[in-house]
């Protein structure tokens, strides 16, 4: 049965891209939305089946089918579905967007299922470049952001190619998991250099400081649904790539990357949280928030244990939904010209559901039970304590504490005063927010199924 999963995924993906491209001509947008959603649903179901079956194999010679890859295929297809809804409503040129999304999704799924460094390199390229164009699609005012992303992405990708090139002499196959089996190579300077360049390049998309300086500008300057895509999916893809490179290829150098990532995580958390304190634009605030969250996610890798990876995976999944849900609301309000924290005054009485949902997302982002964000943070913190990194954990706890202030500012602003003029959100926003809210609350109260999946994925990816 396992090989069929590969075929189904490949087929569905092909159809997804193909129909997306066709849409540019036939312009039947609603139909296209249904088709793309159905295909993504098929992908998700297949992936779910793959996780349930729990087996590992290689499909078509290039795709790893195992709980790890399937879990991320599931996550990406679901998140893409959500972003797709947002874009349908708010994109000026939905057909073109969908075409670009098709290409980007190939990159995403390729990385989720990659079994070679080349796949990762191509996947990152395939994902980032169309994203830059997606930003540009919506009008002139977005061009600046797109160019910024494009220039910086070009640099990151070149660094990534260089890193891959450095590995080549040691392992011409460039397959994932082959260096790890060769313990003799640890400590080779060239490989350490390659490792650091991998971290640098992937940190660009994963938004670790100081490779993330572009994020606030681009997130704020991009249309909301692309921001959701960037924060909810692209960043997660980079983390997946990071897992694959660090755990499968560079595992003998765990000592190096553990300390490097520790430094990056600390800087990222502080950078994100402290600068977020002084933001007035909610979208920008969420950009910094998502930087800080990337710092937390990194904590799981720092411990280099299966349990830590499980925690990171859990948090990645949960954060995708939190941030897509949040950006959906931000996007909707932006379309009503509500941008700054003071603009959010009275949202609680204008649209109670949106305010409630945003409150829950923020509570979850702070990491307060009973939300999924708490479980994620709890798993992450325990993973670092588990390996005795008490100081790091305390720093993370302090950062959680700092973050309370800026989230609370937004929450309090929403409920600050009564404003009787009701605002209705569109059905797609409501649907997306509802799904995200359900995920955040349900997995906050009953996290065990998701933890089990993350655990299975971590077992699949973790060597030894």
């Amino acid at each position: 049965m396992i090989p069929y999963i590969g075929y189904i995924i490949a087929g569905a993906l092909f159809l997804f891209v193909a129909t997306d491209i066709l849409a540019v001509w036939h312009k039947k947008l609603k139909l296209q939305l249904i088709v793309s959603t159905a295909l993504l649903g098929l992908l998700a179901l297949t992936a779910l089946y793959g996780i349930m079956s729990g087996q590992s194999s290689v499909a078509l010679g290039i795709f790893n089918i195992n709980p790890f890859s399937m879990l991320f295929v599931l996550l990406f297809s679901l998140s893409l579905m959500l972003v797709n809804f947002l874009a349908y409503e708010y994109s000026n040129d939905y057909a073109a967007f969908l075409m670009l999304l098709g290409f980007a999704s190939i990159g995403m799924f390729a990385i989720a299922m990659a079994n070679s460094l080349v796949t990762i390199l191509l996947g990152i390229e395939l994902m980032t470049v169309p994203t830059a164009f997606m930003i540009m699609l919506n009008g002139k005012q977005f061009v600046e952001s797109a160019i910024k992303l494009f220039i910086l992405a070009a640099i990151a990708i070149s660094v990534l190619s260089f890193a891959v090139a450095l590995v080549f002499p040691y392992d011409p196959s460039l397959a994932l998991a082959s260096l790890a089996t060769n313990p003799g190579i640890s400590g080779t300077y060239i490989l350490v250099l390659a490792l650091l360049l991998f971290i640098t390049a992937l940190s660009f998309d994963a938004s670790l400081f100081p490779f993330n300086l572009w994020i606030p500008d681009v997130y704020t300057g991009a249309p909301g649904y692309v921001t959701a895509l960037l924060a909810g999916i692209n960043k997660k893809v980079a983390f997946v790539a990071l897992f694959e490179v660090l755990l499968l290829v560079m595992f003998p150098l765990a000592g190096y990357y553990s300390s490097a990532l520790q430094a990056l995580a600390i800087m990222t958390m502080f950078f994100g949280n402290i600068v977020a304190l002084v933001q007035n634009n909610v979208k920008r605030l969420f950009a910094y928030s998502s930087i800080a969250q990337a710092g937390y996610i990194t904590l799981g890798i720092v411990s280099v244990t299966q349990y830590g990876i499980e925690a990171s995976i859990f948090q990645i999944i949960v954060h995708s939904f939190m941030i897509i849900g949040s950006f959906a609301i931000v996007l909707w309000l932006e379309s009503k010209n509500i941008r700054t924290i003071t603009d959010y005054n009275g949202l609680g009485s204008r649209n109670a559901f949106a305010a409630f949902a945003l409150t829950i997302f923020m509570i979850s982002l702070i990491g307060i039970p009973p939300t999924a964000g708490f479980v994620g943070k709890f798993l992450l913190f325990t993973s670092t304590i588990n390996v005795g990194l008490l100081a790091l954990t305390i720093i993370a706890v302090i950062n959680s504490f700092i973050s309370v202030y800026y989230y609370a500012k937004v929450i309090m602003s929403m409920y600050a005063k009564k404003d009787r003029s009701a605002m209705k959100a569109t059905w797609s926003i409501n649907a997306v927010v509802l799904v995200c809210l359900a995920v955040v609350i349900v997995f906050g109260i009953f996290p065990q199924p998701l933890i089990s999946m993350a655990s299975a994925a971590a077992t699949a990816i973790f060597p030894i």
Partner: protein
Amino acid sequence: MIPYLGIMLASLLLGIIGVLLVNERHSRVVGSVFSGITMLLAFAVLVSGIQSGSLNFSENYIYYISQFNVSLNLQLTPISLALVLMASVVAFVTVFAGNPEHEREKTASALILLFEFAAIGLFASGNLLLFFIFWDIGVLALFFMIYLLGSANRRRAAIKFLIYELLASLLLLFAIMLVYFYTPMHSFDINYIIANSVTMSSSTQTLIFAFLFVAFLINMPVFPLHLWLPDAHTEASTQGSMLLSGVLTKFGGYGMLLAFALIPAAANFSLFVALLGGFSAFYAAFVLMTQHDIKRVIAYTTIVEMSIILVGIATLNPFGTAGATFAMLAHGFAISMLFLVAGSIGHIFADRDFRAVKGVIASSAATGYTFLIGVFATTGVPLTAAFIGDVLIFLGAIRAFSAMGVIPLLSLGIVGAYLYYVMNKSVFSTREVSKTIEYIGSSQKLGYAILLFFIFLFGLLPFLILNFFNL
């Protein structure tokens, strides 16, 4: 055996749903009904405990995170029984009597039930992770109570409250994670940890205790981490204040008892903790003397009383522990009654500065006399529940710290003297009669009556609770 605790929690959750479903006008009634059911169940627990002579309430529900072997595990110790009783009564009175203005009753009722849910869950949880989760739910519920229902400057007070409380909660989280990883079998189970925490190295124990200590110190609150409380009270609605001082501060007190039980090495610090508690009692009593807002005055009495409770906890002997528990029970009733009174005074005169409020007794005799009895119940007059608590605490303190242990009792003298001053200026005074703006309803009077009943019930029959303690 009837799973009382589970039914209580379920009834509260149903109550929240019920409150949200009905309209604004009926929400208070629905909230009162479900909260009342919970209160009756709490007393059913007490009665069945008295009948069987011991507390055998241990309930296990669905798994939360099986990886950590965490399930919804509820149990009752004598301490938690006392606090559950108190919380259910205070929440019940709060929901039906605390809002004479009838403002945003739906929001208020739902949040009160949510807070009650958290409080009962916290006091009854047999598991540190659950303890933490209920803690945070309670803090959030109260944050929204302060922010959504508070007065003009609530913004600053609410964020201050949230920041202090979440600092406490994060320290707590860190501490319980440490506990988990340093116990031999990796467990959050309170009973297991108490039995096995000796195996931790003393430096680890010290570290864990330091975090727990600071977290609970913030919540109790005790000098120097008490600053959030007066501000929160000034801005919170009457209902918020009742729950804040009545129940939320007991989270910290209960946690502190738990911390000393969990960490054997904490005994090394008992003298320091007692000194801090003693100092804090006097300090807060002095700051109290500078306050003019009746609610702030009452807020500082909370700090004094919680500091004295801290002294009781630090004695580490059965007397101090039972005394601290009893004092928390007594304080919950008394302080929520005082805040109910302060709320009524604010409602009657639209002012809470005791220098401006004149002749409470003439405007509402029930309010005036309840205030007076509240003062008695705060200063530990015999036959009120506070007396039992104070007596036991200081008997324990004398045993633990020699005759010096009794000194913090003097702080109650300062508190009493100032409270009588407040009475003199506001309640028993008609020199310049201030204008009565509103009258209070019968639900407030019933609220007074219920709380008075419990103050005297436990003051007259302390053995209802004390028999469960191994003194």
